[in-house]
């Protein structure tokens, strides 16, 4: 079983959801992103999602796009992001990567899979790669023992939902809302329905992302999902801080609050 799968199983046995925290690689710097992700783990984030920055992130809202732009302007390369994966994996927390497809295709799909596995990454979330176009990635992830997380959406038909989760390994990413990344005032009404639709067609754990930003929201989502994925709210801690120390403190505080939330599911 995949390392992510083991982590999900353990959390399930503890009667709680897994907390996945996302941060763009190289934001605000390569070293700064390693420090931020390490702090998140220390404060209770179970799984780190390392987003490989991309120039045209159509699934991301303004917060993550701005952070990605800062990382790219700082000169971060795909090779650097693998170094970050390696450093964060050394903390013991499972590390999953996420990126748009072009950087992977450009790096070389099989070579990327090989290097990601060697760096200790568990797999890849692909926001703009659907299974229909993923033959090369299916083969590479198979060859190198990596998880594949495709997204399902409230608009996915039953047939597409079944087809998509059939190609997933590790966990399924359910997008809670029709929209892009970014914390929202209310949690989604569509998400519980989507999660139960996924459960009808697979035993894989389901992580819910998009729109979660507070401990209370994390608790609500933890009431019906196996994993709670938080990105923009964590990124904002660093983005909005007036100093590095202030950013890290805010990041630790929010991480701890979210970790508390997933341990207190609202059912």
């Amino acid at each position: 079983m995949s390392r992510i799968g083991v982590a999900f199983d353990k959390a399930r046995a503890d009667g709680r959801a897994l907390l996945v925290g996302c941060m763009p690689a190289g934001f605000p710097t390569v070293e700064g992103s390693i420090a931020a992700m390490t702090a998140m783990v220390e404060a209770g984030v179970d799984v780190i999602e390392v987003e490989i920055p991309y120039s045209d992130p159509v699934m991301d809202g303004p917060v993550i796009q701005k952070a990605s732009d800062i990382a790219l302007a700082g000169g971060v390369r795909t090779a650097d992001t693998l170094r970050i994966v390696e450093a964060v994996a050394a903390t013991g927390a499972p590390v999953v990567t996420m990126t748009y497809w072009n950087p992977i295709e450009r790096y070389g799909v099989d070579v990327f899979a090989r290097d990601l596995a060697a760096a200790g990454g568990t797999g890849l979330i692909t926001p703009d790669l659907i299974p229909d176009e993923a033959d090369e990635w299916l083969a590479a992830s198979e060859a190198h023992g990596l998880d594949r997380t495709f997204l399902v959406s409230p608009s996915s038909t039953d047939a597409r939902l079944a087809m998509t989760v059939q190609h997933c390994r590790g966990f399924v990413y359910a997008t809670a809302v029709m929209g892009v990344t970014g914390a929202r005032a209310r949690t989604s009404d569509a998400a519980p329905t989507l999660v139960s639709r996924v459960r009808e067609v697979t035993d894989l754990p389901v992580g819910v992302g998009l729109g979660v930003g507070t401990g209370a929201q994390a608790g609500t989502v933890a009431g019906y999902a196996d994993g709670v994925i938080v990105g923009s709210a964590l990124v904002r801690c660093v983005l909005d801080a007036s100093s590095e120390a202030e950013g890290m403190a805010a990041l630790r505080t929010l991480s701890a609050e979210l970790a508390e939330g997933v341990r207190n599911p609202v059912r």
């Binding site: 159509v58 450009r106 608009s155």
Partner: protein, 412 residues
């Protein structure tokens, strides 16, 4: 001709998943797949529906003003050394070929029961065309436009607003067409239930490239017949500018089976394709994935999209429609870069010889034709006949051109 602009023709088609060889396809968030499937179904059904075809044909004829003329540009021809026939898409309502595409997609929007359209625009020509169709069909209209482009195309921004559209300046990234397209995609992901994304060129995820081509391919159907009527023969070459590439595909498509007709697409070479300032995705880029399809893209070694440059806001885009990528790979069409300066020289030449102010986009096709004519004449041993797609008129570009030639009064 335009009465049944959707009649089937021979020629390349994508496969059922929208692949042109190794290009095309769908590289999109799952959230959009249902909408793309819905659009694909609506488009395929409409194509075989006589009432749709009749309505589209009537709109093209009675509203857009097509068939557009095929005009023999005698004074320009004399300067160039070829018999140059201009396909006058600049005479269409809203001033460009783009009206054909928006009318087709607006009809589909209504057919799908959606009430809102969004669009991205560079030069503003597609934005104006979309706002026009939205007004005609009583649809809410939001147009995303890079902040840089809203400044250099202020007149078209005013036009869109007059037509009732909301223009949203995009301040992310390079603040040009590419970023406007990203914002439109984000809007679409969030509002897909009631919204149709009216993509302005033959790019993006399947079915857009094939669907847009089919809505604009009346240009080539008309030009082919008009050339036969006028000259008794097919042309030696057909030329067009290529940004996203809808006008070029529109005129190429009917000629693709005519193997003796050479097809030339002229890309925006900016300061030159060997510099970092150009928008020539095929001649100066490499295969990659951008905005929902695999195609030629301007990108760095890590697959990050590079900023493009062209004096023409309408060509200032780092990608190209996937069918062009395929036509390039198969060798059926030739793609060559034209610099800003070459385009502006041709712009001026057409103004002075024919009394026609072309869009700067179209001036790239004219400049390419100027360069092509002597080579073709030498090869054929006679004066060649070249059909040039004059895809749009230059009113919107008067400020840019006036600035370039230094002929604007300070106060203006």
């Amino acid at each position: 001709m335009s009465a049944d602009a959707l009649a089937p023709v021979a020629g390349p088609q994508p496969d059922s998943a929208g692949h042109f060889g190794r290009f095309g396809g769908r590289f999109v968030p799952e959230a959009l797949v249902a909408a793309l499937d819905e659009l694909d179904g609506a488009w395929r059904t409409a194509m075989t529906d006589d009432s749709f075809r009749d309505e589209f044909g009537a709109l093209l004829r009675d509203y857009a003003g097509t068939p557009s003329l095929l005009y023999e540009a005698r004074r320009f021809s004399a300067k160039v050394g070829a018999r140059v026939l201009l396909k006058r898409e600049d005479l269409n309502h809203t001033g460009a070929h783009k009206v054909r595409n928006v009318l087709g997609q607006a009809l589909l929007t209504r057919r799908m029961g959606k009430t809102r359209v969004i669009a991205e625009t560079g030069a503003g020509q597609h934005g104006v065309a979309t706002a026009t169709a939205a007004a005609l069909f009583d649809l809410e209209c939001v147009v995303y436009m890079g902040e840089v482009d809203t400044e250099r195309q202020a007149l078209n921004v005013a036009r869109m607003r007059m037509l009732g559209a909301t223009v949203v300046p995009v301040t992310t990234g390079s603040r040009t067409l590419k970023d406007a397209m990203n914002e439109a995609m984000r809007d679409w992901v969030a509002n897909v239930d009631q919204t149709h994304y009216l993509i302005g060129t033959a790019a993006g995820p399947h079915p857009f490239p094939a669907m847009v081509r089919d809505f604009v391919r009346g240009i080539g159907d008309e030009a082919r017949q008009q050339c036969l009527d006028l000259t008794g023969a097919l042309p030696d070459a057909v030329t067009a500018c290529v940004g996203g590439g809808s006008n070029a595909l529109g005129i190429f498509h009917a000629f693709v089976p005519d193997e003796d007709v050479r097809l030339y697409g002229f890309e925006a070479g900016g300061d030159g394709v060997t510099t970092t300032r150009h928008a020539a995705s095929i001649t100066g880029g490499s295969a990659g994935v951008l905005h929902g399809a695999r195609t030629y893209v301007l990108q760095d070694a890590d697959g990050q999209t590079l900023e493009s440059h062209s004096i023409s806001a309408g060509l200032d885009y780092p990608g190209v429609g996937p069918e062009h990528a395929w036509l390039h790979d198969t060798g059926r069409a030739n793609y060559l870069p034209v610099t800003d300066d070459e385009a502006m020289a041709a712009f001026q030449l057409l103004c002075r010889t024919e009394g026609i102010i072309p869009a700067i986009e179209s001036s790239h096709a004219l400049a390419g034709t100027v360069a092509l004519a002597p080579k073709l004449a030498a090869e054929l041993g006679r004066e060649p006949t070249i059909v040039v797609n004059l895809s749009g008129r230059g009113d919107k570009d008067v400020h840019t051109a006036g600035d370039y030639f230094g002929i604007l009064d300070k106060e203006s």
